[in-house]
Amino acid sequence: MTSSSASRKAKIQAATPKSQQRKGANPVVVATVVVVVIVAAVVTAVILGSRDKEAATTAGGSSLPKGASAMGTGIVVNPGAPANVPTLDLYEDFQCPICAEFEHRFGEGITALAEKNQVKLVFHTLSFLDDNLRNDSSNRAANAAACAADQGKFLEYHTATFGGQPLKEGAGFTDAALKSFAEKVGITGAGLTTWQQCYDGRAHNQYVESVQTQSEKDGVHGTPTLKLNGKDVSLNGFTNESLDAAVKAATK
């Protein structure tokens, strides 16, 4: 019974012009279109993402700021530190509110460690928050700080920038604000002109991007991150005293 009804259906279908056989759309055609569109969209996203990244990392100048020995490395605040003291790496994004809080609470203590050459203090200025916050302030601030480093004012500039961080996350830094931080830390006259040229030309932009890329390769996926001799320092219960103790323990 089933087979006869099936064969009858087949005969009807055979007699019917193709265009009338289906009541709906052709699933194969629709599926093909959908799959092609999805694949095209995914490939486009990968190409666009890669191209944007490529464009960002090759924009601007390729010179290293003073204190950085190679692309991807941080800026050493006190290169004169003796070899037996541990290296303290600090990874921060100038738009990161917790970094500003961290600087506010512990910045002086950390600066003191560097001034007394008890650690070799290395700053990695990251810029990943730009994509999150849809602006370019972290990148510009990192460029500005690198230009300040050229004049031996990195640490001061870094402190001034965190001090001037807008209360609302994502408000970002204006060019004028970044310049005012330079003036505030004593970059004036010819020095300010040099700073401005360096900043306007993004002389260190490829360096700034390389630091961001290298930090991710080194497993830094958030800020602030502290590493003492390459090992993560937990910020849970962190105090200047706990840092001092860890530094003492790591000093040879």
Partner: protein
């Protein structure tokens, strides 16, 4: 499910199952769609969230991060509309398995990261990690996907309107036991 249970339970009614399927489809589809939309405008952040798992090489993780949001949007739209439900649910289910494996692995290795499921991602304070909740959510979504792969017929699906032929046939052959009209 045994025949006896199927016959007495309300689940036996195809219509009920269609509605359950609809709910599974909407929940799975909406979550994946929203997750994709929140990330699709922040491709670099998405790439970084994938890199934070430290499972793939830097470049490969980046490509995955660029591709994932748009794939999620596509699968989410198909599920919400109810078009190619079985295939979309299969892709959604595979994504959930991958996410569960990734999150479990991050947890096991002692990483402190946000899963990056809905944007953000990256390292967070250890106290802020939510691995059990993230895994539980993805297991729930995986169950939705499994239901839809096993029984892709759902109420109010676009494919029913677009391909009535297929559904007429589907109504005749599979599993006559369950398709028996209620007494």
């Amino acid at each position: 499910m045994s025949g006896a249970v199927a016959d007495v339970g309300v689940l036996a009614r195809p219509r009920t199952r269609d509605v359950i399927g609809l709910l599974a489809r909407l929940v799975l589809g909406a979550v994946i769609l929203v997750a994709g939309l929140l990330k699709v405008g922040h491709l670099e952040t998405s790439a970084r969230a994938v890199r934070a798992y430290q499972l793939l090489p830097y470049d490969v993780a980046g490509y995955v991060g660029y591709a994932l949001p748009i794939l999620e949007v596509a699968v989410g739209v198909l599920l919400v509309l109810g078009l190619f439900t079985r295939g979309s649910a299969l892709v959604g289910g595979v994504l959930m398995v991958v996410f569960i494996v990734g999150i479990s692995s991050a947890w096991a290795r002692g990483l402190s990261i946000d899963c990056g499921c809905f944007g953000k991602g990256g390292t967070i304070a250890a106290a802020q990690t939510q691995y059990p909740q993230e895994i539980a959510r993805d297991v729930g979504l995986l169950l939705c996907a499994a239901w839809l792969v096993l029984r892709p017929r759902t109420a109010l699906s676009l494919e029913r309107f677009l391909f009535p032929d297929r559904h007429d046939q589907a109504r005749i052959d599979p599993d006559p036991h369950h398709e028996r009209p209620p007494a």
